[in-house]
């Protein structure tokens, strides 16, 4: 196993799946950022996208469905030197893991969350996901999905997320740039990545996305929250991709002085004498 580059490992994804492009964009991003494999921890939940840590030579943790973000948060808090990335699907990130998404955006931990959003469940073979369009017909939604699709971009902006972007697996260069910016951002960065599922989503195909996506231009102001919210509601004939909103603010570590200063917690020794003195509380 060659660990000096982010090696190619045979995947179990379908040919043509958007995951391939996301994986190769991530490898290129890490190379461009000059990250060494051992400096990176990629955390996932369960799902097709969540197999990604298997296919890249970095540290990895595949946890439970919907629970990718909490272990990522725990790892980053205790070792600020690690570059911590979450790669998981729309079901994992927005369905089962919705609560953790909400509250870790609030915590503003310095992790980058890539959501492989194909608007469908792949691993369990084709059920509606939180981002499926209304009317999306599946085996268990024979009348079409009735639920209002979750808008991850609007949700993240509303929660005060400091970096909110949307990418498209079909635009590799653009995606790499988003990934670079997202990883560089200090704080929680959410990048929703549109990708086709060639097996279970016959509606939102590569072509479907290709016809609709357009890039937010240079004139777009990423610091304007109201504009960002307005833009995030654009979905249908035209779908914007790019950075919707960006704001630098103190992250989790900045707000706790003993975390911000000094060594990562994992490298600190116990101050045994101090702990012994705590016993005086009970005398």
């Amino acid at each position: 196993m060659n660990k000096n580059i982010f090696t190619n490992i045979e995947t179990a994804w379908c040919p043509g799946c958007g995951n391939h492009s996301i994986l190769s964009a991530l490898k290129e991003t890490l190379n461009i950022l000059d990250k060494k494999p051992h400096e990176v921890l990629i955390v996932s939940g369960i799902g097709q996208a969540a197999k990604l840590p298997q296919y890249i030579t970095t540290n990895g943790l595949s946890g439970l469905h919907g629970r990718a973000v909490p272990p990522a948060a725990g790892a980053k808090i205790v070792n600020k030197k690690l570059t911590v990335i979450v790669n998981s699907g729309d079901g994992d990130s927005y369905g089962e893991g919705g609560n953790h998404l909400i509250h870790n955006i609030r915590r503003n931990i310095d992790i980058t969350h890539f959501v492989h959003d194909n608007q469908v469940y792949g691993l369990t073979k084709g059920q509606a996901s939180p981002t499926s369009d209304v009317g999306f017909i599946t085996d268990i939604q024979p009348n079409g999905s009735n639920n209002t699709p979750l808008n991850p971009i609007l949700l993240a902006i509303a929660l005060g997320c400091g970096f909110v972007a949307r990418g498209f697996s079909g635009d590799h260069e653009h995606l790499i740039n988003l990934m670079i910016e997202g990883i560089r951002h200090k704080g929680y960065a959410l990048i929703d990545i549109l990708q086709p599922c060639v097996t279970f989503n016959k509606v939102n195909t590569y072509q479907w996305y290709q016809e609709r996506v357009y890039k937010l231009g240079d004139e777009y102001d990423t610091g304007n929250k109201l504009l960002a919210m307005e833009k995030s509601m654009e979905w249908g004939k035209k779908i914007p991709i790019g950075i919707f909103y960006k704001e630098d603010k103190p992250d989790f570590h900045d707000k706790i002085s003993f975390l911000k200063e000094g060594l990562p917690l994992v490298d600190r020794e116990i101050d045994f004498k101090k702990i012994y003195e705590f016993m005086n509380d009970f005398r």
Partner: protein, 560 residues
């Protein structure tokens, strides 16, 4: 000699502070103390009380009969006066409706108003109580000055002084002052034990009765440089702790009952990923909301089997604050050594009973992280799940070495952590994980044996009931011809069975004592050893089982 005093009133009357003052002053006078708290699940009002047992001999339990009551309201009198011994006393406000030969009806409320702070009327009663026991006010002034500041401290002290003059001395009790005593509950002891073990990360979701662990850690967060994070739910709490542990620090979470149910999937994950994790499960009467502020030992089997499929794990039940401190340290070492989840079980009774114990001996604390020191290279690659004889794979910390990557995988995996569906690999890896249980059994601590070596009747109990059972056996052997003994289990899974098998051969009757309705521990004993208990003493009304109740049931032969 032991006295048992109850302080009762509505929530919000400052009773906790009052009880703390009394506990501290009694402790500093050298008395042994055992305090239980009974409170309702509400912030204001309701009926709440503290029972403070103190004396100059060992105390292992609370007791139902009372020597004295400080009644801060009418309800306290109504609810408890019938529990007074014949020569017991009541201290209450003059306007309280009470018929008792030893009632001290004192102008508490009016005097408090004169002092200028209505709430200090409890302190007036406390001053009177101290006078009754011929205890001076010197020590308590220090205690008040440690806890309160400025005018409030002055008013509190004034109230004590006034109260002290209202009654003259009646009881004389002396104890030798000891310097090496502390007054602590089991959850504070767990928290302190965790800090002494090098805890760096705690995440939890508030749930009674587990919250005391988080409260103490949070109070020490900045001094100890330990992260104490309130998670969005119990699933997040345990998963954050798991991530922190995977990244290399000692991490812990604590919860109760339903919160523990939410954590159970991740307990399985910790077993699969082979990530060390310490989980405190403070039991309360469930299921669902149950009786949130009461006690039970209803989760024993649930804890033992708290994971999908089969994983190696250890369950240690905490017997008392002293045990809690040392066992917490042991739990971290075992979790690290075997890379497994270790569950520490307590309950509301332990969480809310404070007692005097010998100060912890920090020299007994051992911290071994069991990290691999091997130099890995291209020819000797690091394998997160290397198959070994012990089942324990070498552990390294992610990010520490440029040549070695760590891949934790929730899927069935090969030695590198790569996903597999191979039938053969599944068998090999499942066996590898479960093999750790074989070695873990060598670490087990046999239960404590107390009582008569030639006993006819052997009681078996676990966790928090160890203290009342110990006291019950002591008292039974004092005044019965029949001889009694008990095995007090701390470790329950895997079950240490050597001492039980040995003792069981020579006795006539084996009785399990548990705070649940179905005799869960008796059932675990039967499963593991084939030994069947002849009788059970069970209580599941949410109130702690006292030594006196155990004695009554043992003597009455009503043990069913």
């Amino acid at each position: 000699m032991i006295y048992n005093i109850l302080i009762g009133g509505a929530a919000g009357l400052g009773m906790e502070t009052l009880a703390l003052f009394l506990e501290k002053i009694l402790k500093r006078n050298g008395f042994e103390i055992f305090v239980i708290q009974d409170y309702m699940s509400r912030v204001r009002g309701g009926h709440n009380f503290f029972q403070i047992r103190f004396g100059n001999e060992a105390i292992d339990s609370h007791e139902d009969t009372l020597d004295g009551i400080i009644a801060l309201d009418q309800e306290t009198v109504n609810n408890h006066v019938n529990r007074l011994k014949s020569d017991g006393f009541v201290i209450a406000d003059e306007e309280t409706n009470i018929v008792h030969k030893n009632a001290y009806k004192l102008p508490l409320k009016s005097t408090a108003k004169e002092i200028g702070k209505a709430i200090v009327y409890g302190n007036i009663a406390l001053g009177a109580l101290l006078s009754l026991f011929n205890l001076d006010l010197n020590g308590i002034k220090d205690i008040i000055n440690e806890k309160l500041r400025g005018e409030v401290a002055g008013q509190n002290i004034k109230a004590l002084e006034v109260g002290h003059k209202m009654i003259s001395g009646k009881y004389y009790l002396q104890a030798e002052r000891k310097d090496d005593q502390i007054l602590i509950n089991a959850h504070e002891a767990v928290a302190l034990g965790a800090l002494a073990s090098g805890l760096k990360f705690y995440s939890g979701y508030p749930m009674t009765p587990s919250t005391g662990v988080m409260n103490y850690l949070a109070a020490r967060m900045n001094d100890a440089e330990v992260i104490v994070e309130q998670a969005e739910d119990e699933i997040a709490a345990i998963n954050m702790a798991l991530g922190a542990s995977a990244a290399g620090v000692r991490a812990m979470t604590a919860t109760s009952d339903g919160g523990f149910a939410l954590m159970s999937e991740t307990i399985g994950l910790a077993g699969m990923l082979e990530v060390p994790l310490v989980i405190v499960e403070a039991q309360r009467p469930g299921p669902a909301t149950g009786l949130p502020t009461r006690t039970e030992q209803g989760d024993l089997k649930f804890a033992i089997f708290s994971s999908p499929s089969e994983i190696p794990k250890m369950v240690i039940t905490l017997r008392d604050p002293e045990d809690a401190f040392y066992q917490t340290n042991r739990a971290f070492n075992i979790a690290d050594k075997y890379q497994i989840p270790v569950i520490l079980m307590s309950d509301q009774f332990l969480a809310d009973s404070t007692r005097t114990i010998k100060a912890f001996d920090f020299r007994k604390i051992k911290n071994n992280r069991y990290l691999s020191t091997e130099a890995y290279s291209t020819n000797n690659e690091y394998k997160r799940y290397e198959v070994t004889d012990s089942g324990i794979s070498p552990r390294i910390i992610p990010g520490k070495s440029a040549d070695n990557l760590v891949l934790f995988d929730s899927d069935e995996h090969d030695e590198y952590g790569h996903i597999t569906e191979s039938a053969k690999v599944r068998e090999i890896m499942h066996d590898k994980r479960l093999r750790k249980m074989t070695y873990l059994k060598e670490e087990l601590q046999e239960p404590l044996f107390v009582g008569d070596e030639n006993a006819d009747t052997l009681l078996v109990t676990w966790g928090s009931l160890s203290s009342p059972v110990r006291e019950a056996v002591r008292l039974l052997n004092k005044d019965c011809n029949k001889k009694y003994a008990a095995l007090l289990f701390g470790d329950v899974w895997p079950l240490p069975d050597k001492l039980l098998i040995e003792k069981e051969k020579n006795i006539k009757e084996l009785i399990s004592v548990e705070q649940n309705a179905t005799g869960q521990f008796a059932s675990v004993i039967k499963e593991c050893t084939g030994i069947v208990c002849d009788n059970s003493i069970l209580k599941y009304d949410g109130r702690p089982l006292s030594a006196q109740e155990i004695i009554a049931k043992v003597k009455g032969g009503e043990s069913m």
